[in-house]
Amino acid sequence: MNVWQFFARHRAEILSATHEHLSLVLISMAIAVAIGVPLGLALVTHPRWRAAALAVASIFQTIPSLALFGFLIPLPFLGGIGPRTAIIALVLYALLPILRNTYVGLTGIDPAIVEAAEAMGMTERQILFRVRLPLATSFILAGIRTATVITIGVATIAAAIGAGGLGTFIFRGVAMVSDAVILAGAIPAALLALLADFLLGWLERRLRVAG
């Protein structure tokens, strides 16, 4: 059976897996952004925590994804089999690029502009929200874009702990030694990643502030 025949025959199943996959990614990304961006903002005013926070976020990235899913299963409350565990792992993965880009974007703006803002008598908070944040938006978005593409890929492994998604086909195809079944998971996942990359890239360019 070739890949197109498989696609045609299992269209409904592939669509629902894509839908599952997309939900995993969207929920994880929403949580990761909700944690990563405010944390990045907080690090600007509390630079003492910067090294520690970035180190912790980096550590999660160094753990092989399959192992991270495995580690989470036995944990009480957080762990177990299913999408919840997968989402936690995906959030931990997505955090570093978001946190790092937020922090670097906020602190990397032209020092002359920050000094001008200080000289105008803006408070630290006003500088953060009215100068740093708007100027760092496209940089933060670049981090979100990287994290999204990574998450779409890593989410295929979530099928290993019963979270569903396009990884289901990949694992099944590996077990069946069937390229067609593997591709039924891999092609939609790749397309999703490309689409997300394109859309977020477009948004990033739209929001970039020309100097």
């Binding site: 002359a112 000094e115 001008a116 803002a117 105008m120 008598g121 100068v131 502030v209």
Partner: protein, 265 residues
């Protein structure tokens, strides 16, 4: 020249606005090197002081001490009879207009948002801000309606510099600090803006401290020239008297500006 003489007479009667008393500034963490030392200077109301010096002479640092972008390591610095360290730093800065090199306009703000930043921070009513915007734009020779919604990147260097001056004047501060405000401009635009500034400073009376490395600019705009070298004040003179100075640093500046032929060897 008669206006200068008048200005000088005013200086003698004018109140002291900014006073440096034996001020020293060392770079925090590098205690062995002082950027400024033994600085004593009285700046009177409505005076235009030019801080003249070579790169690294400490003139910009001296300016930044006034609005506390830098803090004195020792000595005393008063603004309006109050030591700067006792000022609420936000209040202090909002009372002092600041024009910098390369302008430092906010690229994500429109011209109107840039100019009206400090009045906005000070919670002026919207109507008053609108009026003030039109007023300061006219002062710097730009049409308010035409520029209000533009962004800094759409403007030329000279226009941006005018906006920088308009922004500094917006909240009508008594003190104006200018750090090489015309440094990044081509010679023709620079001369034009210098002339305009001179006219402007007659219209609005401000105590102005101007940092420059251009002797011609200092002589043209200032009522008093303070010469800095290696972190110390080496000379202080009216523009007329400056040309009579015979210190080497002063002669070097004159020679470089081709105002007097031949430096002290």
């Amino acid at each position: 020249m008669s206006t200068r003489t008048n200005a000088k007479a005013e200086i003698l009667s004018g109140e002291t606005t900014i006073e440096f008393t034996n001020v020293e500034y060392r770079v925090p963490g590098r205690d062995d090197r002082s950027v400024l030392s033994g600085i004593s200077l009285k700046i009177h109301q409505d005076e235009t002081i030019a801080l003249l010096g070579r790169s690294g002479s400490g003139k910009t640092t001296m300016l930044k001490l006034i609005n506390r972008l830098r803090t004195c390591s020792s000595g005393n610095l008063c603004v309006e009879n109050q030591p700067v360290r006792n000022w609420d730093v936000i209040q202090l800065r909002r009372r002092i207009g600041y024009v910098i090199q390369e302008v430092g306009l906010f690229p994500h703000f429109t011209i109107e948002q840039n100019v009206c930043l400090v009045p906005g921070l000070e919670n002026w009513p919207a109507e008053r801000i609108k009026l003030r915007f039109a007023e300061v734009m006219q002062l710097v020779g730009l049409n308010p309606a035409e520029y209000a919604d533009k962004h800094p990147r759409e403007l030329s260097g000279g226009q941006r510099q005018r906006i920088g001056v308009a922004r500094a004047l917006a909240a009508d501060p008594a003190i104006l600090l200018m750090d090489e405000p015309f440094g990044a401009l081509d010679p023709v635009t620079r001369a034009e803006l210098q002339r305009e500034f001179l006219a402007l400073s007659r219209k609005v009376s401000k105590t102005t401290v101007l940092v420059t490395h251009d002797l011609r600019e200092a002589l043209l705009l200032a009522t008093r020239v303070v010469l800095l070298d290696a972190g110390r004040i080496v000379a202080e003179a009216s523009p007329e008297d400056f040309l009579k100075l015979d210190q080497k640093v002063a002669r070097d500046f004159m020679a470089a500006s081709e105002l007097v032929t031949g430096a002290a060897q």
